[in-house]
Amino acid sequence: MSGSYTAVYLITNVFAAYTLFRYMCIFFDRKDVDKRQEFMSYSLYFCIISLLYLSLNNPAVNIASNLIMFFMLTYNYQSTTKTRLIAVVSTYMILMIIEVLVMLILQNYGITVTSGNDAALITGLISIRIFSYIFMLFMSNFKMISNDIKVSNIHWLSIFIIPVGTLILVLIMISMDYTSNVKETIISIMILLVINVFVFYFYDELMKSYESKIEKALLRQQNNAYLKQLEIINQSKESIKTFRHDVKNHALTLKYYIDNHDRVGATEYLDNIFDFINNSKEHAKSGNSEIDSLINYKMDLAEKHNISSEVYLAIPHKLNINPFDLSIVIGNLLDNAIEAALKSENKFINISVELDRNVLYISISNSYDGKLKLTNNKLETTKDNENHGVGISSVQKSIEKYNGTMNIHYDGQVFYVDALMYN
């Protein structure tokens, strides 16, 4: 290998690393990425690949090291193993096909890249890099980011098998003697590439359908929330009705005492009423009607199940945060808290919602039976996996709307959720 070839190789390899990065962007969300670490990892990739290529130049080593390092690069991003595998195999397959195609086409025009001729090698290298980049631009129309979406195994496998199969087929084709039928090989590989592009298209569509399914579930949940709100309103109307009826009766009794000049009886009766008023406990009366009604409703429910509760609310009548988002957050968190507390021995729930210097802090702690699974800061309880997941994910979505964050921790007896939203 000559010096000029090495120089061109190194320069184009920088470009290749960048192209690879752009391919990764098609599959992964860069929102929560540490940019510096990301840059360092791609630089490291560039160094190792260049070193291995220039020192060993063994095809098997090149393929293996590329695949492994692609996979390691995906750990820059938050995703599932399934997505990582598809991304690695597809990206490698595409880059490989382009490389092979460019080589074959050049060969078809009499430029044999494998001949060891420097000019041919450099031409090949540069065209490979350029075509890889152009193809990436074309592919970036698809957004195959699927962070939160759980694809079923069989759907995933049917997508995954195609790039893997293509990769193997191409490897077989170029390892055989193809010099006598270059044109046919080119056509076959082109067809494989087209098939793969369509598979990507389907994968994209599949993701969209999964997404709409989740959205529908979310919508259903929101409708349920509205229904519950309606129920709360009806209940309070009902209690006002009872109250009106009671007032009439109380007034009649008092009138009876007064008519009979029974001052002691009247006072006693009034004391009883005061006791009753002081004892009838309203859990939340911050004046913020949406939050009050939600917490009162949920805590009444908890009380019926013998869950003791303590509520601390330090919030104004009106918040900038949309009441609907807030009720999704608090409602779902309380549902989970009640559900968990029910299974525990010493049943309790503590709620604190507090506005401090424009930041809304929500803290809920509850007793639980000590059994739960936590993966990736996402809760997984035994009950009704799909619905539960939607609950937590809609909480997270609503919190994220306000640039907020949520922390979950637990100690075997008490389960704590702390959340923050900017008002």
Partner: protein
Amino acid sequence: MGFMIGEIMLRIAICDDDKELCIQLKSMLDEISENIGEIFEISVFCTGEELCDSLMSGNRFNLIFLDIELCEINGVEVGRKIREELNDEITQIVYISAKESYAMELFDIRPLNFLVKPIKSEKIESVLKTARKVLGSSNQYYEYKVGNVNFNVLISDILYFESNGRKVKIVLKNDDATEYYGKLSEVEEKIKNSDFFFIHKSYLINYNHVIEYTYEYVKMSNNEILGISQNNRKAVREKLLQKKQRMRHVR
């Protein structure tokens, strides 16, 4: 553990026009003081005017139990006097009210807590614990050198440190500021105070002197707005949540 802040005994004010409640609250505090073997200096005021007069004549308290519904000067106005006129972010205010609903303007005073009548002793105890946490470092000094001369500033008076070339600028309350040669990283090392954190590579701010937090910027008690850099936003958010969590676990 008692409720002493460093060497200082906790100075507490009670301000309520309900004499009964003042007596009740004082006896609760006395009882707690006896139980933990620490002495509180407790002053009782029956009107907002009395408390204001005392503050204006230079008296300061660590903790004020302040009724919201005082006649004449009400609790909100007293709170505003403390925060805005006296520029005091350190005095902790606990509002007392018969109602559980609060007006928006109360939140501008940045109270430590709200207590609803009737007041329970356990609540007072947990409020005292939280206050002690918050007040923890209020009597510590930050020392820096200009030439060969050592200077000291009260840490609780510092709004923020700003790196300014090779100099560190200390911005203090009452529109005061000072400068010396040094590095912010050294300041962070030296100050060892969890109330200070970076919002930007050249701003180290005091949590207690922020009057408004958003994801993108903070507003300091001198009404200055400082941007939080992209890289620090998540860390700042995490810090806020952690601070609040820590406070809550004291309760």
